[in-house]
């Protein structure tokens, strides 16, 4: 993030705190991609990611007074999003309706990302397998893996977002990778072949 962005953020947050909804809307516009992507990585489906992204921003708006100035706003949002996602996953595990699995919503809202037909095919195939493997991961491991793989965060940032030590991030990431490798052994082998 450029320093000017941070200054802009500070100004926008200050105005939003004063009750300026337009300022908050531009903050949402600025961070919606990242937060949506994170929620999507965590839950695997568009509807839930959409809900969670909205929920994250609404929660953040009402918690804006507790945001400490000078800290990283995106990291703060991420933390809210991860917590909301973990809560959502906990509830979903308890009352999981049949059929609500990733891939059941072959996005009407998704525009095709620029991929070659071969890549597209590969994406669909491995994507489904990876999604399934991710869903099978314990939510704590999934949070670490998603923040690392989707958000490309450094260990330290992940640690800050989740409020855990860096060493824990490393060991969780290792465990997540081993589990994924084990459950993807077949499909990964094929994609490499």
């Amino acid at each position: 993030m450029r320093p000017t962005d941070e200054i802009e953020d500070t100004i926008l947050i200050g105005r939003a705190k004063m009750g300026d909804t337009a300022a908050y809307e531009s903050l949402v516009r600025r961070y919606q991609h990242g937060i949506y992507r994170l929620c999507l990585g965590m839950t695997g489906t568009h509807p839930s990611a959409d809900d969670l992204a909205q929920e994250t921003f609404v929660k953040a708006y009402f918690a804006l007074h507790s945001f400490k100035e000078g800290t990283h706003f995106h990291a703060w949002l991420r933390r809210i999003a991860v917590n909301a996602s973990l809560n959502y996953l906990k509830v979903r595990r308890r009352e999981e309706p049949l059929g609500d699995r990733p891939g059941d919503y072959p996005g009407a809202v998704f525009s095709s990302v620029s991929l070659s037909p071969h890549e597209e095919l590969l994406r669909n195939e491995t994507g489904r397998a990876v999604d399934n493997a991710l869903q099978a991961l314990p939510s704590k491991l999934r949070a670490v893996f998603v923040l690392h793989a989707v958000e490309s965060l450094k260990y330290e940032e992940i640690a800050r977002t989740l409020g855990i030590p860096t060493g824990t991030v490393m060991s969780r990431l290792n465990r997540a990778r081993h589990k994924l490798q084990r459950s993807l052994a077949g499909s990964l082998g094929r994609s490499h072949a």
């Binding site: 919606q32 525009s111 989707v150 260990y155």
Partner: protein, 330 residues
């Protein structure tokens, strides 16, 4: 660096999270270790497939709509909070106080006040034992007394017809006469009595005298008696032992049961050694068997009692005898 360590750090190595020295060591290890190189390859494959697996993002229309939906969500959340409050409290006159600072101050204060009140209620009586009703403490010290033997039955009332002289019993009857010492006769020999009758009789009689004498009259007594008797002639009271029976009670005042003893449920027998004067009034007393709570009540009663005067050898005498006062709760 050992193989296990390297395997543990391989993920961080792949992510470029290790410091230079560790990275160099792992580089070194990888050159010689085939399995680790394979692991590294698998890590790369996983990373690629993970990135590929991320579903395509929604289009521009979605990003345009999300902020406005968020804002309407915020508005809705606000409205729902407000409408809940409105409907819930619309009929209430109570104005909800949002002043959290006051609340934060009042709650601990009220806890402290409650604690102080409780401590006051518990601790002050513990510290201040003097004001406690003594009854309970006394009752704790008093074991229930063993039931005292019933007092000896009062001496059978003698018939009215029996003369006073009948009650006169020689006190020193058993004492031996000492030769050469003058001793007042205490027994009236029968045969002398006849002589006396002839001797005592006064020719012409005595003024105020009764012909034939008075039945039950007192030997040596003066007709009409002597008022107040003679000072200094009152002899020491006799002890009611042996033949001398305790005098008959003429006036009895019932003892008053002390309230504190009643509350403490103290009962029992108080034995008092009473001394009467020549008129049968109780003049002194001594507690022989004491029940602390009941003594005073017994004494107060006995003080007022009046006995039949004891006359020994024609002289009124005080008597020392024991009185048993029984206190019993109903």
């Amino acid at each position: 660096m050992r193989h296990a360590q390297v395997r543990h750090l391989l993920g961080a190595y792949y992510d470029g999270e290790l410091d230079k020295s560790r990275t160099a060591k792992i580089d070194e290890h990888l050159k010689s270790c085939g399995p680790c190189r394979q692991d590294l390859g698998r890590l790369a494959a996983l990373e690629t497939s993970a990135r590929l697996s991320v579903p395509a993002e929604p289009g521009e229309a979605y990003w345009e709509s999300l902020p406005s939906r968020v804002m309407s969500g915020i508005g809705e959340a606000r409205r729902s909070v407000r409408s809940k409050e409105d409907t819930m409290f619309q009929d209430s006159f109570f104005v909800y106080d949002r002043n959290l600072r006051t609340k934060a101050f009042v709650l601990p204060l009220s806890i402290i006040v409650h604690a102080l009140v409780i401590i006051g209620l518990v601790a002050i009586p513990l510290l201040n034992t003097r004001n406690l009703p003594q009854v309970e403490i006394i009752s704790a010290f008093l074991a229930p007394p063993t039931p005292a033997p019933p007092p000896p039955p009062p001496p059978a009332a003698k018939k009215r017809s029996s003369s006073r002289t009948a009650r006169i019993k020689p006190v020193q009857a058993q004492e031996k006469f000492q030769t050469g010492k003058l001793v007042a006769p205490v027994v009236i020999p029968d045969q002398i009595a006849e002589e006396k009758l002839s001797d005592v009789g006064i020719e012409g009689g005595v003024e105020g005298g009764v012909e034939g004498g008075v039945v039950g009259g007192v030997l040596g007594g003066v007709v009409g008696g002597i008022l107040g008797g003679v000072v200094g002639e009152v002899e020491a009271p006799v002890r009611a032992v042996g033949n001398i029976k305790p005098p008959k009670l003429i006036k009895e005042v019932a003892p008053e049961y002390p309230e504190i003893a009643r509350q403490a449920r103290v009962e029992g027998v108080v034995i008092i050694e009473a001394t009467t004067d020549i008129y049968g009034r109780v003049i002194s007393w001594k507690v022989l068997r004491s029940i602390p709570l009941l003594d005073q009540a017994a004494i107060d009663a006995v003080k007022q009692w009046v006995y039949e005067p004891m006359v020994i050898s024609g002289r009124p005498r005080g008597v020392i005898f024991t009185v048993t006062v029984r206190f019993k709760l109903k």
